[in-house]
Symmetry: C2
Subunit: 270 residues, 2 copies
């Protein structure tokens, strides 16, 4: 038995496309529906109730496409909304925080993990809390890197400016002798090479996008929700709440392919 | 006759503090009430109707403080809301777009003006439209500089990274032989020295914050709304819709003084 219904993937904007990319690679037979809430980003500065309300609207929208599972490809929504929505809905969900935190807790040998993310994520302490719920003895060092998202959105992935900014941001973490570093913002995997060069080869980089895609694959198998093998990749659909053009440019750079279809949705209606 | 009622100044966030600073200097006897809509920023990516709704709420809030005039210290709100709100209200308003555009149109000798701003402002063409309404023969060259706001918010005003980013952004405008450059985002006056060094001394920089403060001074005189001379500076009040702490740090850096009082307001209630 195979299940040909699509899988929903959502984020506050374009960052979740790095998760989408990993999901495409790990479960290539699945049709995906992406929603980026570009009209209401960023989520990181908004309250828990506001973010939960946004997530509920997006879930209602995705369910109009008859999705069989949902990937919350946004750190803030994973932290603020996932636990509540999972209880309210009858399909399985996976977020980006737990898979990344679990792998980091398993990977560290000296019990010292770094987390780099937006200011909102670092201040919320959500990675620290989840790592401590696994192992309270692990020391977690958070560092916000506010320029990383705009640098990624400029497309300056491997660049002298980005290298200098990374060097300044990561210097503090290097002084803490961490052996594992979580890329705690969905944009950051696009800076992976620069970050890896800066941290050196003794530090394991954890990419929650990759771990989430692996987790999704396991979840689909567990629930008997896998689609049948296909010769051609499925036709994916992309929706945003504003400015579809800018989204297109960024998405094509991240996914390195033409998008099948993109449309603007009035998300407040859901 | 003097009028001791305060003046309202509002922006989508912290950028309007550069306008606040100029207003403090030009009309030092006036008590000011600042509102920064930090929970709902950025405005530049939102629709005209949404921004107009936000501006109406903020005007209602400011009027609970019995303001005698309002400075719209936000480019997007000046473009999308000012004309409508002026008609609805019985107090005088001034925005940042028109004063800057007027001075630039008067300053250019070769009829070639550059505008640097956020992507939203550049795409809206609001400076271009207003300059053309003054003189249709002027050529306007817009360039968005997405990294400038986060660089300012990091406090990297005079910095090797900022210099390199400015060099890349401004290179295109230098090739257009502009003789006048509008700093079309309220954050950018804080990068004035770096921008001036990059453009060279033959290019006149227009700071709309400065021109707006001068315009406000004239407007108060014209309407007979000036406060009486004072020996001490008035007690200014600061309000934000979210994250007052981060606002405080930034405000103290921009204004170079301790803030008298800061409070968080639930702006959706107004």
């Amino acid at each position: 038995m195979s299940d040909e219904r699509p899988i929903g993937v959502f984020d506050s904007g374009v960052g979740g496309l790095t998760v989408f990319r990993e999901v495409m690679r790990r479960v290539p037979n699945e049709k995906l529906i992406y929603f980026g809430d570009t009209a209401r980003l960023p989520y990181g500065t908004k309250s828990r109730d506001t973010v939960l309300g946004f997530a509920r609207q997006i879930v209602r929208f995705l369910k109009t496409h008859d999705v069989k599972a949902i990937v919350v490809a946004c750190n803030t929504a994973s932290a603020y909304a996932l636990d509540v929505i999972e209880q309210e809905e009858d399909i399985p969900f996976i977020g980006v925080v737990k898979p990344g935190a679990k792998v980091a807790a398993a990977a560290t040998k000296n019990g010292r993990i770094g987390v780099i993310a937006t200011t909102g994520t670092i201040k919320s302490g959500l990675y620290t809390d989840y790592i401590h719920s696994i192992d309270g003895s692990i020391k977690v060092f958070g560092k916000d890197c506010p320029l990383f998202v705009p640098l990624v959105e400029e497309g300056w992935f491997h660049d002298s400016v980005t290298k200098e900014v990374a060097s300044r941001y990561l210097n503090e973490l290097k002084g803490e002798f961490i052996d594992t570093l979580i890329l705690g913002c969905t944009h950051y995997p696009l800076l992976r090479r620069t970050i890896a060069e800066e941290m050196g080869e003794d530090v394991t980089l954890v990419n929650p996008a990759y771990e989430t895609a692996l987790g999704l694959k396991a979840m689909l198998a567990e629930h008997g929700l896998e689609a049948a093998p296909k010769e051609q990749r499925p036709h994916h659909e992309f929706y945003v709440s504003d400015a579809a053009e800018r989204f297109l440019t960024f998405a094509q750079a991240v996914l390195a392919c033409e998008l099948d279809s993109t449309a603007v949705v009035d998300i407040e209606r859901y």
